[in-house]
C-alpha cells in the first residue's frame, strides 16, 4: 500500500477494499468464538458483508444448550502463562473463563447469546455445517433461531462470490 494512503484511510481506493468476509469457525474455545464474532461484527460496522459457517466444534457456539458455557483453554495454551499441570486442576478452566468474561464485560463485549442476536440484527448471515451436524447428531432445533440454515461446504463456497470476497478459517 502507498504510504500516503496508510496515513489517510479516506484516500484508499474504495473499489479495492474488502467487500465480503466469509468466516469459518471450527473451534469452541471462547477466545476463538469471540475473535470470529468480533471480526464479523466489525465487518458489518464498516459496511462489509459478513457470513459465518459454523463447523465441527464451532457449532457449540450456536447450540442453545452450550453457547453460554464455552471455556477458554487453560491446558495447551501457552498464552495463559500458567504451568500445564496447574491448568489441568479442577475448576481452573472455569476460573480463567470467569476472569476473561469479567474483563470482556468491562469492554462492553456482549455474552455469546447476545452477540449472536447483534450479528443477526446487523445483517450478518449465520450458517451451520451439515456434515458436522450429522457427525454430532444435532438437529436444527438444537441451534439458535438466528442460524439461517444448515448447508454444505459447497453451498458456503457458492455464497463466497463477488469481487474482494475473503475467506477466513478460525
Amino acid at each position: 500500500m502507498d504510504p500516503k494512503t496508510m496515513d489517510n484511510p479516506a484516500e484508499v481506493n474504495k473499489d479495492a477494499r474488502v467487500k465480503k468476509m466469509m468466516l469459518i469457525l471450527s473451534k469452541a474455545t471462547i477466545d476463538n468464538v469471540y475473535a470470529c464474532f468480533i471480526l464479523a461484527n466489525g465487518a458489518r460496522m464498516e459496511g462489509i458483508e459478513a457470513e459465518i459457517f459454523f463447523t465441527f466444534f464451532g457449532l457449540e457456539a450456536v447450540q442453545k444448550k452450550k453457547l453460554e458455557h464455552l471455556h477458554v483453554a487453560t491446558v495447551g495454551n501457552p498464552a495463559m502463562h500458567i504451568p500445564t499441570l496447574l491448568g489441568g486442576l479442577p475448576g481452573m478452566e472455569s476460573f480463567a473463563t470467569n476472569m476473561m468474561k469479567k474483563e470482556m464485560e468491562k469492554l462492553d463485549i456482549p455474552p455469546v447469546g447476545e452477540f449472536i442476536e447483534i450479528l443477526e440484527a446487523s445483517g450478518a448471515k449465520l450458517w451451520a455445517c451439515k456434515l458436522a451436524m450429522d457427525m454430532f447428531h444435532l438437529e436444527r432445533e438444537d441451534l439458535v433461531d438466528e442460524i439461517s440454515d444448515v448447508i454444505t461446504v459447497g453451498d458456503f463456497y457458492n455464497r463466497a462470490q463477488g469481487e474482494n470476497t475473503h475467506l477466513l478459517f478460525i
Binding site: 489517510n8 484511510p9 479516506a10 468480533i38 461484527n41 466489525g42 458489518r44 460496522m45 464498516e46 459496511g47 469492554l107 462492553d108 463485549i109 456482549p110 447476545e114 447483534i118 440484527a121 446487523s122 445483517g123
Partner: protein, 102 residues
C-alpha cells in the same frame, strides 16, 4: 482542514469528521448525510441527538450501547445509516469517529 458546509466554514479532520461540535447544526448534518448517501428523516434525529449526548457525557460508543439505548434497535440503526452505521451516524452527528470494535 476547513470546508464550507451548508454555507458555513467548518473544521474537519482528515476523515471528514467535525473537530468542534459547536459548529454543528441541522443544516450541516443534512449536507454531510447527503454526502454519505443518506436523506435525513424524523427517524434519524433522535439517534443523532443520542450520540451527541453520549459524546458530551464522555461515554464511549458501541453498536451494543446504541442497541440498548431505547432510541433505536440495532436493525433500525443499520437501516437508518446503511453501510457502517456507527461511523456514518457519528460523522453526521458532528462527533469524533468512534474507536469501538463492537
Amino acid at each position: 482542514m476547513e470546508a464550507t458546509i451548508a454555507g458555513q466554514i467548518i473544521d474537519l479532520n482528515n476523515e471528514g469528521y467535525l473537530t468542534d461540535l459547536n459548529q454543528w447544526n441541522k443544516e450541516v448534518a443534512a449536507q454531510i448525510a447527503q454526502e454519505e448517501g443518506i436523506e435525513l428523516t424524523d427517524g434519524h434525529w433522535p439517534v443523532l441527538e443520542y450520540l451527541q449526548e453520549q459524546y458530551r457525557n464522555e461515554v464511549p460508543l458501541s453498536i451494543r450501547k446504541v442497541g440498548k439505548s431505547g432510541v433505536v434497535d440495532i436493525k433500525q440503526f443499520y437501516a437508518l445509516f446503511p453501510g457502517g452505521p456507527l461511523k456514518k451516524a457519528s460523522r453526521i452527528a458532528g462527533i469524533p469517529k468512534p474507536a469501538s470494535c463492537i
